[in-house]
Amino acid sequence: MTVVFKRTEGLTEKPYHYCPGCTHGIIHRLVGEVLEELGVLGKSIGVAPVGCSVLAYDYFNCDMHEAAHGRAPAVATGVKRVLPDQVVFTYQGDGDLASIGTAEIVHAAHRGEKITTIFVNNAIYGMTGGQMAPTTLIGQKATTSPYGRDAAHAGMPLRISEMLATITGAVFVERVSVDTPANIRKTKKAIKKAFEVQIEGKGFGIVEVLSTCPTNWGLTPTEAIKWLQDNMIPYYPLGNFRTPEEVK
C-alpha cells in the first residue's frame, strides 16, 4: 500500500485543543511541514505565546519554550544568542504580538534577530473569551467592544506587517491567509522563506497569517472564512511587504 498522506514529523501526536473550524491547526501543520522539509526539526527551538496557542509546546515536535504574554521575541532572542546555529521561532497571536508584546516584536525586528515569527491574526482575543484586540476591525463586536469597535474611542486597527516593514532588520515581511487551498500553499511558501532567511543568517522574518475565530466571532466555520475574505483581507491586504534585494 502506498502512503499518499501522513502526519508531518514536525508535529507530535497530541490532539489539538482548538475549536472546530479554527485555522490554528492548518498553520501548525504548515510550520511543522516546513521544519521537516528544511531538515531542521532536530535543531529547532520554538517559543510559545500566551493565548489560544499557549499549548503550542505540546504540538510542535521540537524543543519548546513557553513565554510570558507578549515576551516570546525576547525569550527567542535569549535562546538564539546562546545557540546562534540553531533555528528559533516564535508562534504568536494578535493579542500577544500586536498588543502586550509590541515592544518585544519591534525591537527583535530592529536588532535584526535571526529568528522567525509566525503571527496569527484573527482580530480578537480568543483564549480569554473574545475581547477586542488592537487588530479588531471597526464595527466588529467583541466582549469589550459590545457595540462594535469605534475608531474615535479605540483607534484604527493596527497593521503590524506594514509597521514592521519599515524596520531595516526585518528582512522578510509577508501577510498571507489560510482561507483557500491556493492561499494555504502561498502561506507555506512564505513560512518557508521566513525560515530560510533565518537559516541563511540574513535577519528577522515574520509571516502574518490571517486566521478565523468562529467561536468568538459567533459564526460557523464556513461563515467565518467568508467573513475573513469580506472584512479582513480588504483592511489587511495580502502580499509581501518587505524582501530586500539581498535576501531574494
Partner: protein, 353 residues
C-alpha cells in the same frame, strides 16, 4: 593573587565573567550602569554575549530564554527596574531555571531617587512576582563579599535550578575597595539535560514551561518547589555574629548598614556598653537560627535599616516574642550615622551609664 582596587559595579561584572557567566542582558538605570557598561566592554573578550535590551521586561525574558538553553546568564538593574523584572523572575522560578539577578538598589517608592537604600527587602524576599516562589538572596556588605557571593550565586543557581539575587545598596555599586577573585567552592552540579538546545533527533522534545492547567498537577509542582526551598533553607543560610558576648542589646543589620553599626558598636564599647550584631548574609533564607545564639544578657533587639522597617518583620518572627524589637532607620537615600545608632541604643537601655 594580589588584591586589586575596583569599583563595586565593575567588580561584580568581573566576578560574573570569572564565574563562567557568558550572557548578560540589561537595561540602563542608575546606580548600576557600570555593570552593563563593563559587560559591553569585557563579555565579548570572554567569548560571551552582552545585549542591551529594549526594557527591563525584555532583558529578564532574554535571561529566561538563555537560561532555558542552558547558559550561565545574568541581568542587573536597580529597584524600579527590578520591579519590572518581577514577571520574568516568577516565570524563571516556576520553570526552575538558574540565573543571577543583581539589584543595586535605590530609594523608592516609584521613581524614588538614586541614592543608597535598603527599601527592596520586601521586594527581594517576598517576591513581587506572582505565585509561591523563593529566590536565594545574598546581601554583601563589602566589595570582597560582593564578588565572592556573585561567583557563589552562579554555583547555587545551577545547583538548585533557581534564580539567585545579589542585592547591594548603591554604596556597594559605587564605592571602590581592594578585592581578590577567589574560586568559589565547586558544587556537584547536575547536568542540564532539560535545556532546550534542539533534540538533534535523538530524544523527545524538552519543554521549558510554568503553565499547568490541571490544578492537582499545579499543586504537586508547588509542593516540589517547596521541597526544594526547604532544602535551601537547611543548607544555604549565612550570617555573621559580631561582639555577641555579654551583649545587652543585639542589633540586626545587613549590607553596608552593618558596617555603620559596627562603628557604633565600637563607640558604645568605649563607653562600656556591650552591643552585639547579627548580620544576615542571606536575606532569604533568613538566618532564624542566629537568634538562638543571642546571650542571656540581651534585653532587646534593634533592627537598623536604610528603610522605614522591612527586615524588622523577619526579626520579629525570629525573636518569637523573646525580646522587644526596636527599630532605627533612615530612608530615601539618607544614611544612618554611627552616632545616631549609638543614641538609639542608649535610649533602649535607658540612657548612658
Amino acid at each position: 593573587m594580589a588584591k586589586i582596587l575596583m569599583k563595586g559595579n565593575e567588580a561584580i561584572g568581573a566576578a560574573a565573567i570569572k564565574a563562567g557567566c557568558r550572557f548578560f542582558f540589561g537595561y540602563p538605570i542608575t546606580p548600576q550602569n557600570e555593570i552593563p557598561e563593563y559587560m559591553s566592554r569585557e563579555m565579548a573578550k570572554a567569548g560571551g554575549v552582552f545585549l542591551q535590551a529594549e526594557s527591563e521586561v525584555a532583558a529578564i525574558n532574554m535571561v529566561y530564554g538563555a537560561a532555558g538553553s542552558g547558559a550561565r546568564v545574568m541581568t542587573s538593574s536597580s529597584s524600579p527596574g527590578i520591579a519590572l523584572k518581577q514577571e520574568g523572575i516568577s516565570y524563571i522560578a516556576g520553570a526552575q531555571l538558574p540565573c543571577v539577578i543583581v539589584n543595586i538598589s535605590r530609594g523608592g517608592p516609584g521613581l524614588g531617587g538614586i541614592q543608597p537604600s535598603q527599601a527592596d527587602y520586601f521586594q527581594s524576599t517576598r517576591g513581587g512576582g506572582n505565585g509561591d516562589y523563593r529566590l536565594l538572596v545574598y546581601a554583601p556588605s563589602t566589595l570582597q563579599e560582593a564578588v565572592d557571593l556573585v561567583m557563589e550565586a552562579f554555583e547555587a543557581a545551577d545547583y538548585y535550578r533557581n534564580p539567585v539575587m545579589v542585592i547591594g545598596d548603591g554604596m556597594i555599586g559605587q564605592m571602590m575597595e581592594p578585592i581578590e577573585f577567589k574560586e568559589p567552592a565547586k558544587r556537584e552540579l547536575p547536568s542540564k539535560d532539560w535545556a532546550t538546545i534542539g533534540t538533534n533527533g535523538t530524544r523527545k522534545p524538552n519543554i521549558i514551561n510554568s503553565l499547568s492547567l490541571d490544578a492537582a498537577e499545579l499543586e504537586r509542582m508547588n509542593i516540589r518547589l517547596q521541597e526544594k526551598y526547604d532544602i535551601i533553607e537547611q543548607n544555604e543560610v549565612r550570617y555573621e555574629l559580631y561582639n555577641m558576648e555579654n551583649a545587652e542589646v543585639v542589633i540586626a543589620a545587613y549590607g553596608t548598614t552593618s558596617r555603620i553599626v559596627k562603628n557604633a558598636i565600637a563607640a558604645l564599647k568605649e563607653e562600656g556598653i556591650n552591643v552585639g550584631l547579627i548580620r544576615p548574609i542571606t536575606l532569604w533564607p533568613f538566618p532564624m537560627k542566629a537568634f538562638d545564639e543571642i546571650p542571656a544578657t540581651a534585653k532587646a533587639l534593634l533592627s537598623v535599616e536604610m528603610s522605614m522597617g522591612q527586615m524588622i518583620d523577619d526579626i520579629k518572627i525570629a525573636s518569637s516574642g523573646r525580646w522587644p524589637v526596636h527599630f532605627y532607620g533612615r530612608c530615601g537615600g539618607m544614611i544612618p550615622t554611627p552616632n545616631a545608632v549609638v543614641e538609639k541604643v542608649k535610649e533602649i537601655i535607658g540612657g548612658a551609664k
